[in-house]
């Protein structure tokens, strides 16, 4: 359960606006229009009012995708296997056993279904190792006995990679959550892979540092999961990708070998930088157990401006001006279209920050060390974009609570969509000039197919776009009333072909997972895929009757996938 229950920090923030709900206790709580510090008011229970996500309602991936077949060469889980794992893990709470215990089904469900409620497996055994040695014992045993596994972090991944398809064993990393050490001078943090991103960041905040990655799922996702998906997030613009900030990794290979590359220094040019391969490998090469990462100084001053903009053209101009005026203090530039904001409003019932409605909104954040210096730059920028008519209206957060509330209009999109029904998500990278065109073309196509409409007979509620404009990264989201094969057929491979024509990437930051695995060739040449295959086989050798252990069904049993994917 733990991996799924803390998923609404951004919305909780959204439920509060202005100074009406802050608390001095650090986190903003979902209080009803009240000032926590001066009044003892009960929480509104916003989170409890929304129906809990019922994993049981999610359709099995094996039914949604009947072309996926369990590879019969993998062993079936038996009592003796479970007994071995119990011996390794010792403690009862480290294992959820649905093999020998029929009553465990409910406890296992949260590990079987993904965050979007789109993918669901038939797993009967969840293992929660507490140490690298335990991970090693588990993998080496699975390797010998032909048992398939799926590594799982916070299970917030958006491409169906974090849950099983058939009966793979879930290796959940939540018990390896310790912060191991922190160097005050260099800013190097070493932690176990199961450490929750927000926990790591709060620890760093107490030391005056910041985690170089931030994203909407921070309250649930784990740093091991972040590395495995090479998550980009909200401040990539400022702090760069994990390929630059991660200094070292400890991982366990599929045969149980422990790879100790947990360097703590920035420079090490002795041969291939192999740890980079684990970043973005989505668990196909091994299980990451420890991470060492370079953390920057936490900015002392932060400002957030929120704009209403008349056209995508002008949003691009605003981005150019932002870079020009704000240069080194610019830390995020996010784009949201009017549709996405309307959906957030309809879920949260909050009043929008701006009076009028606009087709586009941008959120601009600055982070610096000197509030006066930053404010001066920001004022000049704001005056400029207003005077030139680039921005139609806007606001500037006057305090911390407003900063959080404005961010929630961006961070809360994914979650709000989740409350409305199923979402088809495409996380793509396209040259900036054409980025939003994809949303318009997709909307027109879905509409022409008669799938889009306001009434219930139309499966699609809205086609919206938002994303990390500063990184040319768009999230195309098709919000549906229910998952419907016709919608998927209308979208795929249309979206992928559209992106291929523009040399874009079909997965900018979420990875391939189950969703996009078979589409890899839209963004990678055959030569590249071949090279990936050979890397995979060096880390996870498949010889004779032995099977590839990690990355499981999407990667091993679908015939089409065998030809095109990273085997």
């Amino acid at each position: 359960m733990a991996s799924r229950c803390t998923r609404a920090p951004a919305l909780a923030r959204l439920a509060t606006r202005g100074p009406t709900a802050a608390t001095r206790l650090g986190r903003v709580q979902p209080l009803p229009r009240s000032h926590a510090r001066c009044l003892s008011t009960t929480r509104s229970g916003w989170l409890h009012q929304t129906a809990p996500r019922q994993a049981a309602q999610v359709k099995f991936s094996s039914e949604t995708y009947p072309e996926l077949k369990r590879d019969s060469r993998y062993s079936q889980l038996r009592q003796e296997h479970v007994a071995y794992f119990k011996g390794v893990l010792g403690s009862e709470s480290a294992i959820i056993d649905g093999v020998t215990n029929d009553n465990a089904a409910d406890d296992i469900e949260p590990f079987n279904a993904d965050w979007m409620r789109k993918y669901r497996g038939h797993c009967k055994l969840v293992l929660k190792p507490g140490s690298t040695a335990e991970v090693s014992s588990i993998l080496s045993y699975c390797n010998k006995h032909g048992l398939a596994v799926v590594p799982q972090g916070g299970n917030t991944g958006l491409v169906g990679g974090s849950v099983p398809v058939f009966d793979e064993i879930v290796i959940n990393m939540s018990r390896m959550s310790q912060i191991i050490e922190f160097d005050q001078v260099s800013g190097t943090l070493v932690a176990e892979a199961g450490c929750i991103l927000e926990v790591a960041d709060q620890f760093l905040a107490s030391k005056g540092y910041i985690f170089p990655l931030d994203l909407g799922a921070k309250g649930s996702c784990q740093i091991g999961g972040n590395l495995s998906t090479n998550a980009g997030g909200l401040r990539l613009l400022r702090y760069g990708s994990l390929h630059g900030t991660v200094l070292g990794i400890e991982a366990v290979l599929p045969d149980g070998t422990v790879v100790d590359d947990l360097g703590k220094l920035r420079k090490n040019n002795t041969g291939y930088d192999l740890k980079q391969l684990f970043i973005g490998a989505e668990g196909t090469l091994g299980i990451i157990t420890k991470v060492s990462i370079q953390c920057p100084q936490r900015p002392k001053a932060q400002n957030v401006a929120f704009f209403g903009i008349e056209s995508y053209e002008k949003a691009q101009q605003a981005f150019r001006e932002a870079k020009g005026h704000l240069s080194e203090i610019l830390s995020a530039f996010e784009l949201m279209d009017g549709g996405s904001q309307e959906l957030v409003r309809s879920v949260t019932k909050n009043k929008k920050p701006l009076e009028g409605d606009y087709p586009f909104y941008c959120l601009v954040e600055t982070s610096g060390s000197n509030a006066e210096h930053d404010s001066e730059k920001l004022s000049a920028f704001l005056e400029d974009v207003m005077e030139k008519g680039i921005v139609a209206d806007g606001t500037l957060a006057e305090n911390e609570t407003q900063i959080k509330a404005l961010w929630a209009w961006r961070e809360g999109i994914t979650e709000s969509l989740g409350h409305l029904g199923g979402t088809y998500k495409y996380d793509v990278s396209i040259p900036l000039a054409e980025m939003y065109q994809l949303v318009e073309d997709t909307r027109a196509r879905v509409d022409a197919a008669g799938l889009l409409g306001e009434t219930d007979e139309h499966p699609v509620r809205a086609v919206v776009g938002y994303g990390h404009m500063g990184d040319s990264n768009l999230h195309l989201n098709i919000s549906t009333r229910r998952f419907d094969k016709r919608v998927e057929q209308c979208l795929e491979p249309f979206v992928y072909e559209w992106i291929q024509e523009r040399q874009g990437s079909i997965s900018a930051e979420h990875g391939l997972g189950l969703q996009k695995k078979k589409y890899i060739h839209y963004s990678r040449s055959e030569t590249m895929v071949q090279l990936m295959r050979s890397v995979k086989s060096s880390f996870d050798p498949v010889s004779g009757h032995q099977l590839s252990l990690l990355h499981r069904y999407p990667y091993t049993s679908c015939a089409e996938v065998m030809i095109t994917g990273i085997h």
Partner: protein, 258 residues
């Protein structure tokens, strides 16, 4: 009915989303390098004043909204914010950093300001979140000899200068009626402050801000109270986590609970 001339006192305090820390000398809260913003109750006062004008809820209309702050130079930032929200003008009374005024001195200052500006309504926050004194509005009403309605959750205007104020009390609400001039203090449920729009932020830069000193009001920063000591609340003992049922049972035994 007379046109309203509203005076809104505002205070610069540590941002309410920031966790305050006691300084090393244990004489107060650490303020250096900490984000400051407008006292949230004062935001409600500004918002309410602007709404009274926008919604035309007072039969005589609103002639003027003046915001006033006694504090360091940086207090001008929150005065600009108040003007961006819709106040017409601001008065900044320079008080050196660290020379904070006590509620009585502030009340005396506001009395003079209200008289000078011919105010007939003063809307204050019920308290500021830095010292939580909850005294200034009451003292001001006393000094002016005006009726007061504290902790307002709703303000309505009637004929003949009458004002009805609803306040939340234990287990219900209470409605008071008085005649202008009067003093109102705000509580959380009164309204939801707006975001200042960029065009209004720009306009606010050109609105008038008078700069004054305590002497202009015939006030000295006299202190009657001495802060003896400020301490952090006792650290809450975190609950322990047990791994499983066996762990729970042995922990309970250890504590002598079973």
């Amino acid at each position: 009915m007379s046109a309203l001339r509203i005076l809104v006192p505002v205070k610069r305090v540590i941002d309410y989303a920031v966790k305050p820390r006691v300084n090393k000398a244990q004489t107060g809260v650490e303020t250096a390098g900490v984000k400051h913003s407008m006292n949230p109750f004062d935001e409600l006062s500004v918002e309410e004043s602007v709404r009274i004008r926008e919604k035309k809820s007072a039969p005589g209309g609103v002639e003027d909204i003046t915001v006033i702050s006694a504090g360091p130079t940086k207090a001008q930032d929150i005065l600009r914010t108040a003007m961006a929200m819709g106040a017409d003008r601001a008065i900044h009374v320079e008080v050196k950093e660290g020379e904070d005024l006590e509620p009585l001195s502030v009340a005396k200052l506001l009395k003079v300001a209200a008289e000078q500006h011919k105010s007939n309504l003063v809307i204050l926050g019920k308290q500021s979140i830095d010292d939580d004194a909850n005294q200034t509005g009451q003292m001001l009403a006393g000094l002016l000899g005006w009726p007061q309605a504290t902790q307002a959750s709703k303000v309505e205007f009637g004929e003949n200068d009458s004002v009805s104020v609803t306040r939340e009390v234990d287990g219900g609400s209470e409605t008071l009626r008085a005649k202008l001039p009067m003093v109102i203090t705000t509580d959380l449920r009164l309204n939801e402050p707006r975001y200042a729009s960029l065009p209004n932020i720009m306009k606010a830069k050109k609105k008038p801000m008078e700069k004054k000193t305590l002497a202009d009001f015939g006030i000295t920063a006299e202190r009657r109270l001495k802060v003896v000591k400020v301490t952090e609340p006792p650290v809450r003992q975190g609950g322990g986590k047990v791994e499983d049922v066996d762990g729970l049972v042995s922990k309970l035994k250890e504590l002598g609970a079973i």
